[in-house]
Amino acid sequence: MGNDNLKRTARAKGEILLEMRGVMIEGESDDVWHQIVKGIDLTLRRGEVLGLIGESGAGKSTLGVAAMGFARPGCRFNGGTVTFDGIDLLKASDEERRKLRGSRISYVAQSAAAAFNPAHRLIDQTVETETQHGVRSMAESIADAQDLYGRLRLPNPTTIGMRYPHQVSGGQLQRVMTAMAMTCRPDLIIFDEPTTALDVTTQVEVLASIRSIVEEFNTAAIYITHDLAVVAQMAHRIMVLRHGKLVEEALTRDMLAEPKEVYTKSLWAVRKLAKQESTTDDLILQVDHVDAAYGNAVKILDDVSVTVPRGRTVAVVGESGSGKSTLARVVTGLLPPSKGSVKFNGSPLPPALPQRDKESLRRIQMIYQSADTALNPRHRVYDIIGRPLTFYHGLRGKQLDLRISELLKMIELDDSYMDRLPGEISGGQKQRVCIARALAAKPDLIICDEVTSALDQIVQEEILKLLLRLQVEFGISYLFITHDIATVRAIADEIVVMNQGKVVQQGQKTKVLSPPYPAYTELLLSSVPEMDPDWLTNLLQKRQAKAK
């Protein structure tokens, strides 16, 4: 480990590559300009990896692209300087900046799927920048790209480039994008949340390959993320941003060991929420040997049995494609099972939605991952929360107004929100409105499908606390679908581990989270990043040793 430390310090002592002084950026919305980045200084040396963290709206992505001398559409610089290797990027002509981008500075975006052109082969897109800038001949570029694919540990590096973007997995695509950014051997790469959209198990691989290749070519990097555990693995130095201002800046190890500012401490504390588990034999939901499939295709659920005790939380964990969301669709009746039964409160539920009566629909409510699409953008909060009240409980007029106001209080919002459209409130508030809509029905069971994964960590914690409090107050049971183990620790009483449509394990939280594990549970648990800067290094060594 000592050696590793030494290497990091040595790298952080290169000459200054990027210097931003008092950068101010403003953005336009509704014809009003408001400040997004409020005067930030940033220095990056050659070969150094700088982590930018903060909640959404902190201005971290805006600052990230500003390092290329670029302001997003609808934004503009209104102060400060950006100097890259002696060149003042804000004063440089478009032509000069264009020459730098791609060849000396490159950018890796969050959603690789959206960043690739689906109509071209991967290899053509990888070498495009290089041939555009005329650095090397096509043949050399292709050979180099294949070499990079190999270094990034992509399977079949010589042939994978002939595929189209939809023919490789999300994690592979993200690595191809990193290769694309690397082709010109840039001095600086900006990674904007490159692993946020990936599963934990895939994330580990991508993180490992990004880290090794950046080290290998001594590339400086700015790593933007809201996940502290991830940034702890990648960055030498961390800058914490909030509301467009710098909160704290320190070397990774120092900041992890002793954060100074209150805000930073609160970020660190988020992952420590943990629910005391409890149990009961009184089952509210029994899913009994259920098979389910879409059309006549392969089974998505294969002999799945899950039980939810009354007033408790059962967390369903697994990577994408494991069948967690399909389980929710079976319970809600959207997808009738092809075999097996679902019992609710001891009596069997009709398999298909249209056969269920209003009363059983009322008792099972659902909260979705993306509050953006779960709320009708044309309905006001008043109507969104009011509808289930009118629909199930027949409330109207003044009674309805009062009840809506009560519900808003429960989700810690005030009456002024009644009049708003979903587009006019923040992501966390939208999720609260979704919770209020579910609560309005007075349900026995709420199915939460990845309800916190689209939110940043502080908001996540607030939502989890709210859900816990509501459970205590109203005795609601949760079927909580998630891929995030920290969330599971925070909220679950029991855990169900799913993989490829099968239940690997169901049991008490502490039992599932302590050894001995089934193989898949171990892989899943060990892939969850921890707040330890050596976690990734240790994990890779351990896995390597095991492989041998």
Binding site: N376, D401, S405
Partner: protein
């Protein structure tokens, strides 16, 4: 607790839609203003035709083809009826029928489109294939064919035929945009709540597909208008003595040979209306599609 309940104001401070509309109007470009003013004048003429027009719609006033002199400011037509009067009445007939036909097309095509997107399966298959079959026949020929079956093409027949032909286009558009909305979680949430299909269609889906539909309504109205004029010109539209711009072009077309521009007046009226509506639609499209923001 009771006191708190008593104290509670019932909060209702919805921003007025009128205020928002006025704010948007202030930002409207010149072209849109031009369109709106022209359209307003047309509508005024259409609504108050009997009050504005100097004579009766089908009254023979003088000799045929009289020149542009008072009291016949635009001369007379081939039967000696006042051109100006007929121009004004035609606004009412042509625009009214076009509006009715377009509205019919939107109600039927739009509703079926949303239902197909929502229900999918065999319902969607049957309706879509039926629509494909109608769309396979060129619309003007289809309209001519159906209209020639009726001995006397009445206004109702014209509205029905054109409404059905155009409903197929509206159906396609509505189905496509509704598909995107149907896939969203809030529609699923409404279904899970146990909402009836009427609520899902009119409260959840329709408000979210209105912008492209309103735009299409404007454009479709122009097309319908042109189709009606074309039918009239071909003699299968409105029948004399009803005044109609398309019909008027035909009736007076001989004048062109003598270098008289009178028959071009109704044609010009059609053209101006089309341009005006397109200006308005353009503005609306720009505003709602967010093209302006470059996103």
């Amino acid at each position: 607790m009771a006191e708190a309940v008593m104290d509670k104001k019932v909060p209702k401070a919805r921003r007025s839609k009128v205020a928002t509309a006025l704010r948007e109007l202030k930002k409207a470009p010149l072209t849109a203003w031009f369109g709106m003013i022209v359209l307003a004048i047309y509508v005024l003429f259409a609504v108050f035709a009997p009050l504005i027009a100097p004579f009766k719609e089908a009254e023979v006033m003088g000799d045929a083809f009289m020149p542009w002199e008072a009291p016949y400011y635009l001369g007379t037509d081939q039967l000696g009826r006042d051109m100006l009067t007929r121009m004004i009445f035609a606004a009412r007939n042509s625009m009214g029928i076009a509006f009715a036909a377009t509205a019919l097309a939107f109600v039927s095509g739009g509703l079926l489109g949303v239902l197909c997107a929502l229900l999918k399966g065999w319902f969607d298959q049957i309706v879509s294939r039926l629509v494909d079959a109608i769309m396979a026949i060129p619309s003007l020929i289809f309209a001519l064919m159906v209209l020639s079956i009726f001995k006397q093409p009445t206004a109702t027949n014209i509205i029905l035929v054109i409404g059905i032909v155009d409903a197929t286009r509206v159906f396609r558009l509505t189905r496509a945009v509704a598909m995107n909305v149907v896939a969203l979680d809030f529609v699923e949430a409404a279904k899970l709540r146990g909402e009836k299909i009427g609520w899902v269609v009119f409260r959840e889906i329709v408000p979210n597909i209105m912008p492209p539909l309103v735009t299409e309504f404007g454009l479709r109205y122009c097309f319908v208008f042109l189709t009606i004029s074309a039918l009239s010109f071909l003699g299968l539209g409105l029948q004399p003595p009803t005044a109609d711009w398309g019909l008027m072009v035909r009736e007076n077309s001989t004048l062109i040979t003598y270098g008289d521009i009178t028959p071009l007046l109704p044609a010009g009226a059609i053209a101006l209306l089309t341009v005006a509506i397109n200006f308005i639609v353009d503005w609306f499209l720009n505003k709602t599609s967010g093209l302006r923001d470059g996103q």
